[in-house]
Symmetry: C2
Subunit: 444 residues, 2 copies
């Protein structure tokens, strides 16, 4: 029995089925909404018109799963979990028994406790219905949008709303967008946004959503100003959706997400698994509890739960917090520890920031790229990296993510044999340049 028909839940179901045939195990997935397996990350691009058809965001249908003997029940809300009886209580009181349970209830957008936030015209970017609502608002003539928050969703929504012709203001509680970056890198993102004509308002926590007499959104008010808005978008990050788990008595961790072991088993009730945005995970470097809402982790965690249920030992290997996005032509990516995290973790660290180009300087389309890396002083171990730059910059973060994952030093990475061709890289790839500068300084 799986509660939640998206990345984590469906991966768990598919993997359990792969390892144990239909004669051994019934696999049932309950999904409260009408659709399964959609790409929440694609919603901004659907709103922006880059993805023409909502159905293109749907990777797989219940019929696809039925063909693999996985029963998916959409529009079926789990109202409760009776751990002692081993039953899920569905809407209408139907009680469904299980031998193995995977809780994959996903995440929910952070909603600051300010007046007016529940009004029409304030939208998350989480469910397909959110996307449809925002599209409808634009079609109905919305002219001014305020995006709350400057994380990935905030940046992407600012870009696509501007593409659709709206005036866009981004209101930040923080001093800079992309709080997962160091300030010197976040400043570059901020400059690019301003250069695109996006109105960025830092250091202004939202205080109220002002409504018109018709009850519709009229403005976003901070301590400093009121920003006119026909449309307000929440880009303040995602928290875990744990209502069902909490009511059932599953213990939550320090992050507020369901506390699980590396096998994705609940620490308080090991007979229950939790995976995806509702579950807590851990940082590969520091080992600390962390909550990251991202489809890739959800897929992998679901797969781990499905493997264990299917009888094959498996463990989730942790996260580095690798992430990537773009705003206009500027690509933004990060992995591992940023300076603040290294500081908090008690690491003795160095940082190096280099400027290079995405291609050979003489090759058309060569664009600036800034790479910042963080290494442990003494050992030279790579702790993290951040990249901001033109087209072709961002995916280079995967080299750092792999190197950090493998426990490489900057010196080892600097010696490695990365590809070179003028249309794709300077002779020394910017990754190598950064690693080399860091290792040279380590050598004294």
């Amino acid at each position: 029995m799986v509660i939640g028909g998206d990345a984590a839940g469906l991966s768990a179901a598919a993997q359990a089925r792969r390892l144990r045939g239909a004669s051994e195990l019934d696999v049932v997935v309950l999904e409260q909404g009408p659709e399964i397996s959609y790409s929440a990350c694609g919603i901004p691009y659907w709103i922006g018109g880059l993805v023409s058809d909502r159905d293109r965001l749907m990777a797989r249908t219940p019929a696809d799963f039925a063909a693999q003997d996985v029963a998916v029940r959409t529009d079926t809300r789990a109202e409760g979990i009776d751990l002692s009886a081993g039953e899920v209580v569905a809407a209408g009181g139907e009680r469904l028994g299980y031998d193995h349970l995977v809780v994959a209830t996903g995440g929910k957008p952070f909603r600051p406790p300010v007046p007016g936030l529940d009004a029409d015209g304030v939208h998350g970017v989480h469910r397909l219905a959110d996307g449809a609502d925002i599209r409808a608002a634009i079609a109905a003539g919305a002219k001014r949008a305020v995006v709350l928050g400057g994380g990935y969703i905030g940046l992407e929504m600012a870009e696509v709303l501007q593409t659709r012709g709206l005036e866009v203001t981004v209101v930040l509680a923080d001093p800079l967008p992309m709080a997962q970056l160091d300030d010197d890198m976040g400043e570059r993102v901020c400059a690019a946004m301003c250069g695109m004509g996006i109105d960025v308002r830092p250091n202004q926590p939202v205080r109220e959503i002002e409504l018109g007499v018709d009850g519709a959104v009229r403005a976003v008010r901070t301590d400093e100003a009121a920003y006119d808005a026909d449309l307000v978008v929440l880009g303040l990050g995602m928290g875990p959706e744990t209502t069902l788990a909490q009511e059932a008595g599953l213990a939550l961790g320090t992050t507020g997400a369901i506390d699980v072991a590396h096998t994705q088993r609940s620490r308080s009730h090991p007979e229950v698994f939790a995976a995806g945005d509702c579950a807590q995970t851990f940082h590969r470097i520091t080992g600390e509890a962390i909550h990251v809402a991202l489809g890739t982790h959800a897929n992998k965690q679901g797969r781990v739960a499905g493997s264990v249920i299917g009888g094959r030992p498996a463990r989730f290997a942790g996260v580095l917090g690798t992430a990537m996005t773009k705003v206009g032509d500027l690509e933004v990516a990060r992995t591992g520890l940023c300076t603040t995290q290294a500081e908090e973790g008690g690491y003795d660290y160095r940082t190096e920031l280099i400027e290079s180009s995405t291609r050979a300087g003489y090759y058309p389309g060569s664009a600036p790229i800034t790479v910042k890396i963080i290494t442990e002083r003494g050992s030279g171990l790579l702790l993290g990296a951040q990249i901001v730059g033109g087209p072709g910059s961002g995916k280079r973060i995967d080299v750092f993510a792999t190197a950090v994952w493998a426990g490489m030093t900057a010196e080892t990475l600097a010696g490695s044999d990365l590809s070179y061709a003028p249309p794709f890289s300077p002779t020394y790839d910017p990754v190598v340049v950064a690693a080399r500068v860091a290792s040279r300084i380590e050598q004294g």
Copy 2:
């Protein structure tokens, strides 16, 4: 004293100078040609018109080096090395004493021993003068080009000559272009070339360059046919330029390049260093002697030689044979061992080939990507990878290059935290998909 004013020689000179000041060490670079520090890899793109100005291929000038107290003497050909006297004999008989010598004489295009190959109209793509000659031939009305060989230079030249409006035939001795790829990947490259309208003629070693009564190139003849040509381009790879080293008595290795230790010291004469395309190197995985002509290695090897001369221990860390190019929109990349190399090396290996997309399937511009990986059976260690696909495919090889360099298994790579965003990747990056398929099969 450094012989050769390009990647390896100049890196050695700069690094030695960095470590030892002008009061301790005179650094002199002899270059036989009129220019230094040019990008040979950029010549095809200059011919193709993508790089407007020849000077843009020049990274640094003698004046730049003079400002760092490195004396560069252009148009100064070293005619001989007197190892016992510790002197280089320059053109005109001038004898220049040295305490440390770096031989960085570079490479030379392979020239098959066939009649007519020395005629006007047969061009390497090695020196700036070659580029100027080919540009002049096109300007003079050349209509039909035959490219001999289907390696990186062959592919790049076929593309740029076609861009310039010539009819292009590529004549291969091998069954497929890109002999460094497995056949199933090379077939994809071949199909893309044919789809662009490039006439590819495999399995036809060239027998003769036919000349007209004016002594100019008229056709390329193989056992099967004669292909009309106004212009013939050598794309058969680069060998080491070792004339000077051989005459001086420096021992060559099994590859025909100068035999050096990891410190870049000659094995027969450890007081002499050799670096770059003239020097032999070794494969990181197999440890075997190999010759690879590539600017990145030349830079690093020169730097090792300069470090050792400067008093800092350094060792070159080997190569994986990472390489990348493009033909039209198709990107081609490889690293580590291909199937043939794994076979020859006596490895018990598996291969996996997966098809995926460069971006989320629904995101505009998503293109097919094929990834093939080779792992050691039992250990699951990554031995090599090959990628062929649309824009954004090729640089993903760097993740594999890093993973192979670090000695990662497919399973470890499959668990790693690579970046995901719809404009740049499906939820699971194709790199992870390939690693996962390989590790799943290893698990049985």
